[in-house]
């Protein structure tokens, strides 16, 4: 078999030959139409995926440096046009398409990116009506974010001042197209918001004149959408009318379809306001007049009342009451006196009827009878008492100590002390003694000696 003179190649040699053949035969730049599958974006930023159609599959690689310029987000199943070159990838022994440009097939990439962003921001709720701030009804200080050079700034100014000449306008010049326009407008929005405690802007208008989709692109970018959404000051979008809607229009608190219509959205019509004021004035005047008349009427009703017609009425009523009481009191006291007088007279009549002389004679007889009876009774009692008294006196005589003197006893007293002499100790030698005898006779004697008879008898 070896003698067939077939050359033997290494794997590397084969891959090199295939690479050379591809380079020789295929054009260096090809556009491939297919559907994305196995989409994978590595953390390095490089993208790996496949393009496929009904029957076959083509592996693809897109470097991060190239993917940077892709404006939409590739997804599996998306029909795309991939531009690049075919080359061999020796480590895996496969060929693949190295993509340097990726576009959606059918619609443009810008449109797709716009639609994708709309969906994403919508899902986050940035367009929801509940987040829209109410516009001030009579704004005094209006900020305008637009290009200094464009026609839009004059259109906006004129549209405001035509309706509301009292507004003060503040222009914040920003680029409205080009690479970093969106970022600059967003920065201006944040700046104005940050300084608004001093600026005191009531409402902001962000806009530009009409243009192609690419010219308006800044107003479709997420960075501006988020800046509008985060603004504390209400924002009105006023972007030229050639495109239906920008994302800025969807996020803004209110939308004017062109810069020339910004005034209608932002400010009220001065004439209308003046008309309203006149109406209010008239209304207020007539209401006040009506109220005044009503009060006057009420007052008159009060004044027509009895108390104001005759203010003396309460006094007079009381005078009458008092007079009545006074009359009653006088009548009463007269009645009382009359009654007493009547009683007195009746008493007199009765007393006269009594005939006192007759009564006196009868009473005298009764009295002397009573006196006789009393005398008799008293005398009886006195006699009885005298008898009792004599008996008691006789008895008392027997008890008298001096009665014994008649029987020969005597009473001896010490003259100096006046005390009865009962024993030897009651006297001293030379004391004077008084001895009482019956018949109130007294003897005075002197003590010579004291002797105890009992003691002497023993001696």
């Amino acid at each position: 078999m070896r003698s067939n003179k077939l050359k033997i190649y290494t794997v590397t040699q084969i891959n090199r030959l295939v690479k050379a053949a591809i380079e020789e035969i295929l054009p260096p730049k090809m556009v491939v139409s297919g559907e994305i599958s196995n989409w994978k974006r590595h953390s390095s930023g490089h993208c790996y995926f496949s393009l496929k159609d009904q029957d076959s599959i083509l592996p693809c690689t897109m470097w991060a440096s190239d993917f940077k310029s892709v404006k939409f987000s590739p997804e599996n199943g998306m029909a795309v046009l991939a531009t690049g070159r075919i080359d061999v990838y020796p480590p895996q022994g496969k060929y693949q398409l190295y993509v340097d440009k990726l576009e959606p097939a059918g619609i443009g990439a810008l449109q797709l990116a716009f639609e994708q962003m709309v969906r994403r921001l919508e899902a986050e709720g940035l367009f929801e009506q509940m987040h829209k701030k109410p516009l001030p009804p009579y704004p005094q200080r209006i900020g305008i974010l637009t290009s200094q050079s464009g026609a839009a700034v004059d259109d906006i100014k004129k549209s405001i001042w035509d309706r509301w000449p009292c507004a003060k306008l503040f222009l914040y010049p920003v680029p409205v197209q080009g690479e970093d326009a969106a970022e600059k407008i967003a920065a201006a929005l944040r700046d104005v918001n940050g300084r608004n405690h001093k600026l005191k802007i009531d409402v902001l208008i962000v806009g530009r004149g009409g243009g192609a989709l690419e010219d308006l692109w800044a107003f479709n970018e997420e960075v501006l959408a988020r800046a509008i959404y985060n603004s504390k000051i209400p924002v009105i979008s006023a972007v030229g009318h050639e495109m239906d809607t920008t994302i800025a229009d969807l996020v803004a608190d209110a939308r004017a379809s062109t810069p020339t219509k910004a005034g209608v959205t932002a400010v009220p019509d001065m004439l209308e306001v003046l008309g309203q004021l006149a109406h209010f004035e008239e209304n207020l005047r007539s209401k006040a007049q009506w109220k005044l008349e009503l009060c006057c009427e009420n007052l008159n009703t009060f004044l027509a009342g009895a108390i104001f017609k005759n203010p003396l009425l309460p006094v007079q009523n009381r005078q009458q009451q008092l007079d009545e009481l006074c009359a009653k009191l006088t009548d009463l006291i007269k009645e009382t006196l009359a009654a007493v007088r009547n009683k007195l007279h009746a008493g007199y009549v009765q007393i006269v009827k009594i005939e006192p002389h007759r009564l006196l004679g009868k009473k005298t007889v009764e009295l002397s009878d009573l006196k006789n009876r009393t005398d008799t009774a008293i005398r009886t009692i006195i006699n009885r008492l005298q008898i009792q008294l004599t008996a008691q006196a006789n008895h008392l005589v027997g008890l008298n100590p001096k009665a014994v003197l008649t029987r020969g006893y005597s009473i001896t007293k010490n003259k100096s002390t006046g005390l009865l002499v009962r024993c030897l100790d009651d006297v001293q030698p030379a004391d004077l003694l008084i001895t009482e005898l019956a018949g109130e006779n007294l003897i005075e004697s002197e003590v010579k000696t004291k002797q105890n008879i009992t003691v002497r008898n023993q001696d």
Binding site: P311, L312, L325, L329, L332, I333
Partner: protein
């Protein structure tokens, strides 16, 4: 005592005085008090009535004065 009573009377309000007066009338009316007491009550009543009359005549004077002032003011306003 009498002086105290008079002092009391001058401080009494019209309504209180009328109340006391009514009480006196009904007390005499019932006739259950002595003649002496009746006379005392009558005397008291007359003092009270005098007091009431004074109150009323003062009130009347004030009202007349107030309404006169009011009328002068009104006519002055009208002439203005």
């Amino acid at each position: 005592m009498a002086k105290n009573n008079e002092n009391d009377v001058s401080k009494l309000s019209f309504e209180d005085t009328i109340k006391e007066l009514t009480g006196i009338v009904s007390k005499i009316e019932q006739g259950q008090i002595s003649l002496e007491n009746s006379i005392q009550q009558y005397e008291r009543g007359m003092t009270l009535i005098k007091h009431c009359r004074q109150i009323l005549s003062k009130a009347e004077e004030r009202i007349v004065k107030i309404s006169e002032e009011n009328q002068t003011e009104n006519s002055r306003k009208k002439t203005e």
